[in-house]
Assembly symmetry: C2
Homo-oligomer: 437 residues x 2
């Protein structure tokens, strides 16, 4: 389940009746949502992040948490099982600092931390560090070095190094706490990191982004990957590409799980779900969306038609654009006779596939994707948290459980357990190091 700035995945979530307006800075609120997700046995909470304010706050909430590590620490202290995964940039952080904070979170949470390693592509983020975004090849070369150094630092305190022998006056066995001495072209670190292993050893690695470079990074290091396929075919193709990348890195493709983003709007009926989304759409630029909808289905559309459906003539002329994988669905919804406002309320041009309907509609969508091999799991983007988390947990989860598609309880106590991820401590010995010892 994705957690962003505290309101929900929709820009207008903060305005929903009943939402806590101060969710952005209110850790009590984050804790309550996390506890609700944990009640639903959700494997993990995922925080996207970019170190920049990349949205116009006049009408929208920030995209990211005030600080994901500190928010996750707040949540860790008041939950017991749910995994806590955050994005952090390999380009704008030092590996020692990343290694220290993520391992500290892993220890504090008793083995529930994960790191989504991304290279960051936003110029506004680079400007916050007085820099430009480096060329892609350089960014990813650094990313490989950073991930390797971080993992090596995580393993720099051997699992049985912490002796705590009071009579022998031996706090730890320094022979088992060794420098890593890794020197790359972009970054380096001597170590050791002064942090003992957590219950899962060390944090789990995630990756997000796609592209050849991103796939190579994921194929080598990641146990989980965030992806945004719009269609089942898209998902199957992305998943296959990821599995191939893992194989090329000498790994078993089943080690890398792909999570597909999607956004449910859950209500007692499809009409009620669309009305919820129409309220949320008050915070987006519908003029622009109507025009874009036209582009998707090959028609010049204007805002004056927003409360009308497509005419018979328009429907006859419409063709889905080959440039946007969401176009076929947009046209299909339009053919059902909805007004343009309702076509948009279906989420046909959202960043994620949207299901606006009943809990059963949502469960059906997830079942269809999963059984078609379009993903290994989902990254559920709740539109507005204050009632959406409960709706998903109390209405959708039981349906998935009844259908045998979702676990009845956590598989164990650590994030590695929940994901059935392999044991790993320190660097994966199968990975050929780019950074030489």
């Amino acid at each position: 389940m994705q957690f962003t700035s505290g309101y929900g995945a929709e820009p207008g979530a903060w305005r929903l009746p009943g939402a806590n307006l101060h969710s952005y800075t209110d850790m009590d609120q984050f804790v309550r949502y996390a506890q609700a997700a944990e009640r639903g046995k959700i494997q993990l909470l995922f925080f996207a992040d970019t170190p920049a304010l990349d949205v116009d706050l006049d009408g929208q909430v920030p995209h990211f948490a005030i600080d994901p590590l500190l928010v996750m620490t707040s949540i860790a202290r008041e939950t017991e099982r749910i995994g806590l995964v955050s994005t952090a940039s390999t380009t704008f952080n030092e590996p020692y600092n990343l290694a220290r904070q993520f391992k500290a979170l892993d220890v504090i949470s008793h083995g529930r931390a994960g790191w989504n390693a991304v290279t960051t592509s936003v110029p506004a983020a680079a400007a916050n560090f007085g820099r430009a975004v480096p060329p892609r090849a350089e960014k990813y070369e650094r990313a490989h070095e950073v991930v390797q150094i971080v993992q090596a630092l995580w393993g720099s305190w051997e699992k049985d190094a912490w002796v705590l022998d009071v009579d022998g006056k031996k706090f730890a066995d320094m022979d088992k706490i060794q420098p890593v001495g890794l020197q790359g072209r972009h970054v380096a670190s001597r170590g050791p990191l002064p942090i003992p292993p957590s219950e899962q050893g060390q944090p789990v690695i995630f990756q997000a982004g796609g592209g050849e470079y991103g796939l190579e990074l994921a194929g080598r290091y990641a146990d989980g990957v965030y992806a945004n396929p719009y269609t089942i075919e898209d998902g199957r193709a992305q998943r296959q590409a990821l599995r191939d990348a893992a194989e090329r890195a000498g790994r078993d493709p089943d080690e890398v799980k792909m999570f597909a983003g999607f956004m449910p709007a859950i209500a007692a009926s499809r009409r009620a779900a669309l009305d919820r989304r129409r309220f949320l759409d008050e915070s987006v630029d519908l003029r622009q969306r109507v025009r874009y909808l036209g582009t998707m289905i090959g028609l010049p559309l204007g805002y004056e038609q927003i409360d009308e459906p497509l005419t018979a003539d328009q429907l006859a002329d419409a063709v889905p654009s080959p440039h946007d994988p969401r176009s076929a669905r947009a046209l299909q919804v339009a053919r059902e006779g909805w007004t343009l406002r309702d076509v948009l309320a279906h989420g046909v041009i959202d960043y994620h596939p949207v299901v606006a309907g009943t809990a059963a509609d949502v469960a059906d969508h997830m079942q269809e994707w999963f059984e078609a091999g379009a993903c290994d799991g989902f990254s559920v983007a709740i539109d507005g948290y204050h009632d959406g988390v409960d709706a998903f947990v109390d209405q959708v989860v039981p349906l998935l459980q009844e259908r045998g598609l979702f676990h009845l309880d956590y598989a164990g106590t650590t994030l590695r357990d929940h994901l059935h991820a392999r044991e790993q401590y320190g660097l994966d010995p199968r990975v050929t190091e780019t950074a030489a010892r």
Copy 2:
């Protein structure tokens, strides 16, 4: 009150009967100590930090917390008043990352955060970032830039920018959220930081270190300074130098408060306090300390004399070394006739002045220093937390309160309130910027 790795300020604190052996990684334990300190109305908890393992863990605990920001977040969630101050390096962190994490802590703690800005002088820390320690002038030039950029970023969201107008669909007023666009020689950041003000506006700045460069940094930006004078004269001189530095920076010297480190060992009698410290001394190298004691008082001393006092002949020959300000006290204690083991147990060569005795002895020491103008307050280093925090809070604090030397309750709700620190939001306009806008 100083908080380190979780056991206490003495290297052997982890071995004290009743101590929690896993304090280093146990946030519940940190929270309990913090709550005890808060019961005693202690203004703040201070975390020293260096990003390196700079101690032999065979017999000693780590010097620093697993990660101060994450530990402070854990504490912030389960305390209400006590301030939370951590050290972070200006040399090995990016200003944007520092600004974000400290401001996030400030918001999460409802205005209780402080940042002790140090340049870091340890080669082992530099090696963790693949670097060498830069020359002092360069390190401090960067430090000025970092503090200024951090403070500017803290102020980049005007105090009334967060509008939260649901009907007007206005989340925030983007005209009041502006880039800072600071470019220094070493670091730069565009901003804005996407974090609203806390109850105290922004974190309070501290500094530690001394030296001409450190004083200039403290004089310009700090509201609190950590110092380690060994004697009252030393404290008065350091405090005067600090006040002069503030004046040179165009500030009122009363704005900058100096906190002197000292370590009490509290027991029912002086003998019992010395026995506590003798147990703690099992974790230090007494052979070396006996030799060093000899150097301090101008005598060749050997370990075989450890359980004997100085002889009359030795006392006649002894002279305090002018090279160590602790020497006069060492000789004074030796003249009282204690064995060398007990002389050392008095803490005559510890990093802080030590008072081993009753609560009244400790209160007397604090009163004497304070009334002599040797400091504005204390940075109390509790030798072993598991019983030492309670002893200080329940025995020493009431004495200080009776004597009118310590407040009966917090002055307000924020760290700024507790310290009677000036209001500040964004950069101090009196500071001439080295980083040009």
